[in-house]
C-alpha cells in the first residue's frame, strides 16, 4: 500500500516581502494531530511569537486541510481557518466547506499559512507553484457585498476558487467572518485577521489528484458512508435542516430569548422550522461533495432571492433579540452573510445592547441618542444596526463592532454581568441553565462559548444526565464530546454525519488508514483527539489564558429562568466549579486547569517554532 491523503508540505506566504515558500510537514506531526483544526492549531503556534497582536503583522492565518478532502468520502470538502481571535484573544478555528477546500488541497498543499501585512489592499493567489499577491483597489473600501466581490473575482480568475471577506472584515469588526461560495467561517473574527493584513480574498487553484493509499478500500468505505448518510440518522437535516431545533428548544425551555432573560419565546410559532418549511421553503442545497444536503432556502417575499437559514442565525437574530417576524430574521441573516459578520455574535451583541438600552445603561450623548428606539423586538432597527456595525459608521455601530465583552467593559456598572459571552465569544443558541452539561462545555471551551467544538448538549438531550445540573458526570460527557468533535474537525468530516457512524473512532481510523496508508489505530486516534485540545490549550496559555476565564457570565448563576419547562432553573456556582475541576482532572490538566509542565515539555518538541 502506498501513501496518500497528504502532500507532506504546506505553503508559507509572507505578505510583507512578499514571498512564498513550501515547508515540509513531517510524518510525526501528521500522525499527532491528523489535519484540519489539529494541524491548524499546531501551525498557528509554531508560526507565531508569544503574545502577538491578532491584528498585527506577526499574526498568522492558517488554512488547514484534512487528509480526506478531495477523496470520494461524503462531506469531506472542508477546511479549517485558524488564527488568534481578535474577539477573544484566544485560539479560533472556523470550518467551511466548498470547492475552495478541494482546490486548495489540490494545489498540492496540506495547509497555507499567511503572515505579514500587504503593502496595499490585495488578493492572494495560490497555486501549485506558490503564491502571488495582487493589488485589488477596485474591491477594497468600495462597500462591495460578498456576492458581488465573489462574482467579480470569479470572472477575473475563472480557474481559482475564492475565500472572501466583506466590508466588516475590512473595517476590522471583531466578529467578521470569511466566506467561500456561500459558506462561512463565521466565528471569532477571522475576517478581521485577514482585513488587518489588507487581504480581501484568497484564491486557490490546483489540479493535483489527492493520492489514495488504498483506492479500493476508500471507495468501498465512501459508498457505504454515502448510503448511510441518507438514512434515519440524518433525516432531520434533509427534511427540515437545523431550523428544526427552534420549536423543540422552545418546548424544552432551552431557547435563549431576549439576551438570555428567558428561555421560551412567545412568538416562536411564527419562526419555527416547521412553519418556515410549510410556508416559505423554496429549495435545498448542499456543500460540495455532500450527499446529505442540509441547506434549506426560504422565501423572504415573492420574487426575491430565497435565503439560506440555519438554527443559529434564526435564534440569534430572532428570539435572542425578541424578534418574531420571519421576514426580518431572514433579511438580517442575509445581511450578515453579505456584510461578512458572524450571525451569533451579531445577534448576541445587539441583544446585549437592547437590554442596555431598555435598562437605560447607555451614557448620555451619541450612544443614548442612537439607542433611543433600540428595544427588544425592534426588527427594522436591528437591520439598520447590522449595517452600522459592519461599517463602524455610527458611535453605537462602532461600539458594538467590538463585541459584547468589550462593549460591556466600556459601559461598566452591571453591564458585564449580562454580556452574553464566554472568553469574549457570544453564546450560541443553547440556554446554559436548561442544558448544564453544555454549560460546562461552553465554560471550558478553548475558543469560548462554542457548540461546534463541544457537542456536550448531546448528553443533556440523552437522558443520561440531569440537564438542570452540572455534575462530575457532566465532565466525562464534556470531554467525550470535545474529543469526538476534535476528530471530526481534524479529518475533516461534517458533524451531521456523526450519528451515521456506529463505531466513531474505529470507523474514523479505518478511513484514515485507507486514505493515508498510515497505521492509524483506534486508540491512537482517541489520543490524538485529546492532544488537539491540549495544543489549543497550550496556545491559549502562551497568549495569557487564566483559569478565571473558564466560566459563564454572572447572570447564569444569579438569575433563575422565569418560565416554561425549565422554570426556576439556575446554575449552582459551587457545583459548577466542581464540574470544572472534574473536567480538568479528566483532561489530564493540573488542579487549576493548566497543562502540566511535563506534558507541555513533550508537546513543545512536537509543536516546535518560537513558542513558550
Amino acid at each position: 500500500m502506498g501513501r496518500g491523503g497528504y502532500f507532506e508540505r504546506y505553503l508559507r506566504v509572507d505578505l510583507g516581502r512578499p514571498s512564498a515558500e513550501h515547508v515540509p510537514l513531517e510524518e510525526a506531526t501528521r500522525r499527532a494531530v491528523v489535519g484540519g483544526v489539529g494541524l491548524g492549531a499546531l501551525l498557528l503556534t509554531r508560526e507565531t511569537p508569544p503574545r502577538f497582536d491578532p491584528l498585527g503583522p506577526e499574526a498568522a492565518l492558517v488554512l488547514a486541510f484534512g487528509p480526506l478532502v478531495g477523496t470520494p468520502l461524503t462531506t469531506s470538502a472542508k477546511l479549517a481557518f485558524v488564527a488568534k481571535s481578535p474577539l477573544t484573544g484566544r485560539i479560533s478555528d472556523g470550518l467551511s466547506s466548498s470547492s475552495f477546500a478541494i482546490a486548495g488541497k489540490r494545489a498540492g498543499l496540506d495547509a497555507i499559512v499567511i503572515v505579514g501585512e500587504a503593502a496595499e489592499p490585495s488578493i492572494v493567489l495560490v497555486d501549485e507553484e506558490g503564491a502571488e499577491v495582487v493589488p485589488c483597489p477596485d474591491l477594497w473600501g468600495r462597500d462591495v457585498s460578498i456576492s458581488e466581490a465573489s462574482a467579480r473575482l470569479r470572472e477575473a480568475y475563472p480557474e481559482h476558487r475564492f475565500a472572501v471577506i466583506g466590508v466588516a472584515g475590512e473595517r476590522l469588526v471583531r466578529y467578521a467572518g470569511i466566506a467561500n461560495e456561500g459558506r462561512h467561517a463565521g466565528r471569532g473574527g477571522l475576517g478581521a485577521v485577514l482585513g488587518a493584513k489588507r487581504v480581501k480574498a484568497i484564491g486557490v487553484r490546483g489540479s493535483r489528484p489527492v493520492p489514495l493509499a488504498d483506492a479500493e478500500a476508500t471507495l468501498r468505505i465512501a459508498k457505504d458512508l454515502a448510503r448511510r448518510s441518507l438514512g434515519p440518522a440524518t433525516e432531520k437535516y434533509r427534511s427540515l435542516g437545523t431550523v428544526a431545533n427552534l420549536s423543540t428548544f422552545n418546548r424544552l425551555a432551552a431557547l435563549p430569548t431576549r439576551n438570555f432573560q428567558a428561555s421560551t419565546f412567545e412568538e416562536a410559532r411564527r419562526i419555527e422550522g416547521e412553519a418556515l418549511h410549510d410556508t416559505r421553503e423554496r429549495g435545498r442545497g448542499s456543500c460540495k461533495s455532500c450527499t446529505i444536503g442540509c441547506e434549506h432556502f426560504f422565501e423572504v417575499r415573492p420574487g426575491e432571492r430565497p435565503v439560506k437559514m440555519e438554527y443559529e442565525n434564526l435564534f440569534a437574530l430572532g428570539p435572542l433579540c425578541g424578534i418574531g417576524d420571519p421576514e426580518v430574521v431572514l433579511r438580517a441573516s442575509s445581511a450578515c452573510d453579505e456584510l461578512g459578520i458572524d450571525t451569533i455574535s451579531a445577534g448576541g451583541t445587539i441583544a446585549f445592547a437592547m437590554e442596555c438600552a431598555e435598562r437605560g445603561l447607555l451614557p448620555a450623548g451619541p450612544l443614548a441618542e442612537e439607542a433611543r428606539d433600540l428595544r427588544f423586538g425592534a426588527g427594522e432597527r436591528m437591520l439598520v444596526l447590522l449595517e452600522d456595525i459592519a461599517r463602524r459608521r455610527t458611535a453605537l455601530g462602532d461600539l458594538l463592532a467590538e463585541g459584547s465583552r468589550r462593549a460591556a467593559e466600556r459601559l461598566g456598572g452591571e453591564a458585564p454581568s449580562f454580556a452574553p459571552h464566554v472568553k469574549g465569544l457570544e453564546i450560541p443558541g443553547y440556554e446554559p441553565r436548561a442544558l448544564q452539561t453544555m454549560a460546562l462545555g461552553f465554560a471550558v471551551g478553548t475558543r469560548g462559548a462554542d457548540h461546534n467544538r463541544s457537542g456536550a448538549y448531546e448528553a443533556d438531550f440523552s437522558g443520561k444526565v440531569n440537564r438542570f445540573e452540572a455534575s462530575e458526570e457532566s465532565a466525562a460527557h464534556a470531554v467525550a464530546a470535545e474529543d469526538r468533535a476534535a476528530v471530526m474537525d481534524a479529518l475533516i468530516l461534517c458533524k451531521f454525519l456523526r450519528r451515521a457512524l456506529e463505531d466513531f473512532f474505529g470507523e474514523s481510523a479505518e478511513m484514515l488508514r485507507a486514505v493515508t496508508g498510515l497505521p492509524f489505530e483506534t486508540e491512537e486516534l482517541a489520543r490524538a483527539a485529546g492532544r488537539i485540545t491540549l495544543v489549543r490549550r497550550l496556545f491559549n496559555e502562551r497568549e495569557g489564558w487564566t483559569p478565571a476565564e473558564d466560566t459563564l457570565p454572572a447572570r447564569f448563576f444569579e438569575e433563575k429562568l422565569p418560565g416554561g419547562a425549565a422554570k426556576g432553573a439556575g446554575i449552582d456556582r459551587e457545583g459548577f466549579a466542581r464540574s470544572i475541576k472534574a473536567y480538568h482532572a479528566r483532561r489530564g490538566l493540573d488542579e487549576r486547569g493548566f497543562v502540566p509542565a511535563e506534558v507541555a515539555r513533550d508537546m513543545a518538541s512536537l509543536i516546535g517554532g518560537k513558542n513558550r
Binding site: E235, K236, S239, T248, R251, N452, Y457, F468
Partner: protein
C-alpha cells in the same frame, strides 16, 4: 388522558402537532402513538418502544427513554429527537 406532542421530523411524518391517548406508562403511550400514526413506525416509534435516536421529555422537563415511566392524567409527553442541537 395523556398528550403526546410532536416536533420536527415526527411532526412532518405524522402531519399533526399532538395527539391524546389513554395510557398509564410511557410504553403504553408510545404503543398508542404508533397505532394512531403509522407513519411514525418504525423509524420513530417501533412497537411501543422508541426507535434509536428518539427520547421523550416528560412535561418538557427531564429526558428519558424509560418505558416504565408512569403517566397520569394531564401528563404531556414531548417526543424529542436525540439530534436536537447542532
Amino acid at each position: 388522558m395523556v398528550t403526546i406532542e410532536l416536533y420536527g421530523v415526527a411532526r412532518l411524518r405524522a402531519r399533526r402537532e399532538a395527539i391524546e391517548v389513554a395510557a398509564r406508562s410511557l410504553g403504553e403511550a408510545l404503543a398508542a402513538l404508533g397505532a394512531a400514526c403509522p407513519t411514525l413506525e418504525p423509524l420513530i416509534v417501533a412497537g411501543g418502544r422508541l426507535a434509536p435516536g428518539w427520547l421523550v421529555a416528560l412535561n418538557g422537563a427531564q429526558i428519558t427513554a424509560d418505558l416504565e415511566t408512569p403517566l397520569g392524567d394531564g401528563d404531556v409527553v414531548v417526543l424529542v429527537s436525540a439530534d436536537a442541537g447542532g
